[in-house]
């Protein structure tokens, strides 16, 4: 009965358990709202008949004063062709455009994350290339960990932490 061009969607194909599993914690409320909205659409569809319901014209034939009237009605009812509603505002196309845009964005984000993961992995591997502590001289240690070296040109004061040095923000003893 529906035109062949449009595919009829009668139920949701969304895997909601997977959706909930991958949903970030701070977006669970949004997920719940989306699910509720979606469920109203599905319920509305399910409340209504899928095809044109049958009418028992035979029983009407005996009850009607004019039996030909039932026949006429039957012929007309069976010939009835109901058009599938047209998406006048072109919403579907808009949604598709929005989706493809979003997909691009997600793709870009994913590559960024992948790069960051790769960096972290390479850093982990690099940590393993360091020689053992017993095999390092003091000089080597200073080369490997330059920030631990005390620069005589910039002496530090007790207790030798960054926040307690003159010039550090919030340092209370001298300017």
């Amino acid at each position: 009965m529906a035109s062949g061009a449009t595919k009829r969607v009668v139920s949701s194909a969304i895997d909601w358990t997977r959706f909930a599993a991958v949903c970030p914690k701070w977006q669970v409320e949004m997920l719940r709202a989306t699910k509720a909205k979606h469920d109203t659409f599905v319920n509305k569809v399910h409340q209504l008949p899928e095809n044109l319901p049958k009418i028992d014209f035979a029983s009407y034939k005996s009850r009607l004063p004019d039996p030909t009237m039932a026949d006429r009605f039957q012929k007309a009812y069976e010939a009835l062709s109901i058009p599938y509603p047209v998406d006048k505002a072109n919403l579907l196309q808009k949604v598709e455009a929005q989706n493809s845009e979003k997909e691009q964005e997600v793709k870009r984000f994913k590559t960024e994350i992948q790069a960051e993961i790769e960096e972290s992995k390479s850093f982990l591997k690099k940590i393993d290339t360091l020689p053992k502590f017993e095999e390092m001289t003091e000089e080597m240690f200073c080369y490997y960990f330059p920030e631990t070296w005390q620069d005589p040109a910039k002496p530090k004061f007790w207790p030798y932490v960054e926040t307690e040095q003159p010039g550090a923000p919030g340092f209370k003893y001298a300017k």
């Binding site: 009829r8 969607v9 009668v10 949701s12 969304i14 895997d15 997977r18 959706f19 991958v22 977006q27 989306t34 979606h38 659409f41 569809v45 209504l48 008949p49 095809n51 009418i55 009407y60 009850r63 009607l64 004063p65 009605f73 009812y77 009835l80 109901i82 058009p83 509603p85 998406d87 919403l91 579907l92 949604v95 598709e96 929005q98 979003k102 997909e103 997600v106 994913k110 994350i113 960051e116 960096e119 972290s120 992995k121 850093f123 982990l124 690099k126 940590i127 290339t129 360091l130 020689p131 017993e134 095999e135 001289t137 240690f141 080369y143 490997y144 330059p146 920030e147 620069d151 960054e162």
Partner: protein, 275 residues
């Protein structure tokens, strides 16, 4: 140090290049918190210097600090010295050499017996006593090795473990984030399906309306005939009943009441006889 290193001063010294070659290439950084990339760069470079292909590992092996000293005798003297004497002089050789050497040094006044002479044997006697004492030796050894272990922990093990943990946590967080990216596809699907489902609902609403309207008309026709028939029937019944009641005369009514009373009386007499 880092800034000096990056600016090339140290690099040029290590590599023997001309001075300050890369001075302007890499800007000096905040020495307190090097970034991950900085660390990787630094370590790559230092590794290439200490363990690179140009390093002559065969003739100048990398120095390592052994965890334990080599075996000793008499508390402080390396056992290898004694081993050196055994094939040439037998087991008494090293002691004879030690005594002979001392005597020779004293006779030549290289070692002078003055007021400070006894400091030397006294010091080494103390070292011997402490290191071989079953009470003090192991304790001292434990104390010193604990100190070394602690220093290693603070300077090396703990910061590296912290870096490793941070990276692993970072990786697991990012992988979760990758997984969470799937939500976008679900949301897209939900949006699309929302539109399609609403279209479907509208279509079904139309079907339902058509069905209801046709059915309503048919039911209306049926109902009209039903009502007509019922009205005719009711009218007929009313007409017959009213004409019958009209045909009953007062005489007939009286007779019927009399007959009823008679019957009641008969019933009562039967009841008393039975009692």
């Amino acid at each position: 140090m880092l800034s000096a290193f990056r600016t090339g001063a140290l690099r040029s010294i290590v590599q023997g290049h001309g001075t300050f070659k890369v001075l302007s290439v890499v800007p000096a950084r905040n020495a307190s918190a090097p970034s991950k990339q900085d660390r990787i760069d630094t370590w790559d470079y230092v590794n290439s210097v200490y363990f690179g292909p140009e390093r002559d590992m065969k003739n100048f092996p990398h120095p390592t600090q052994p965890a334990q000293h080599e075996p000793v005798r008499m508390g402080v003297l390396p056992a290898s010295w004694f081993e050196f004497f055994y094939p040439k002089t037998g087991v008494t050789g090293p002691y004879v050499f030690l005594g002979g050497m001392t005597l020779w040094m004293m006779s030549k006044e290289i070692m002078v017996v003055d007021h400070y002479f006894w400091e030397f044997p006294a010091f080494w006697a103390m070292v011997y006593w402490v290191s071989t004492s079953p009470k003090m030796g192991p304790k001292l050894k434990q104390y010193i090795s604990d100190k070394i272990e602690m220093r290693k922990n603070i300077l090396y093990e703990r910061p590296l473990a912290k870096m490793r943990d941070a990276e692993e946590k970072n990786i697991s967080n990012l992988q979760r984030l990758l997984e969470e990216c799937e939500t976008a596809s679900f949301v897209n699907q939900a949006k699309k399906e929302g539109v399609e489902l609403q279209l479907e609902a509208a279509y079904r609403q139309r079907l339902n309306t058509a069905f209801q309207e046709v059915k309503k008309r048919l039911d209306y026709e049926v109902e009209i005939t039903n009502v007509k028939r019922k009205f005719e029937q009711d009218h007929m019944v009313n007409w017959i009943v009213s004409s019958v009641t009209k045909s009953i005369t007062p005489q007939q009514e009286k007779e019927s009441i009399q007959s009823c009373i008679q019957t009641l009386k008969q019933l009562a007499s039967k009841q008393t006889a039975a009692a």
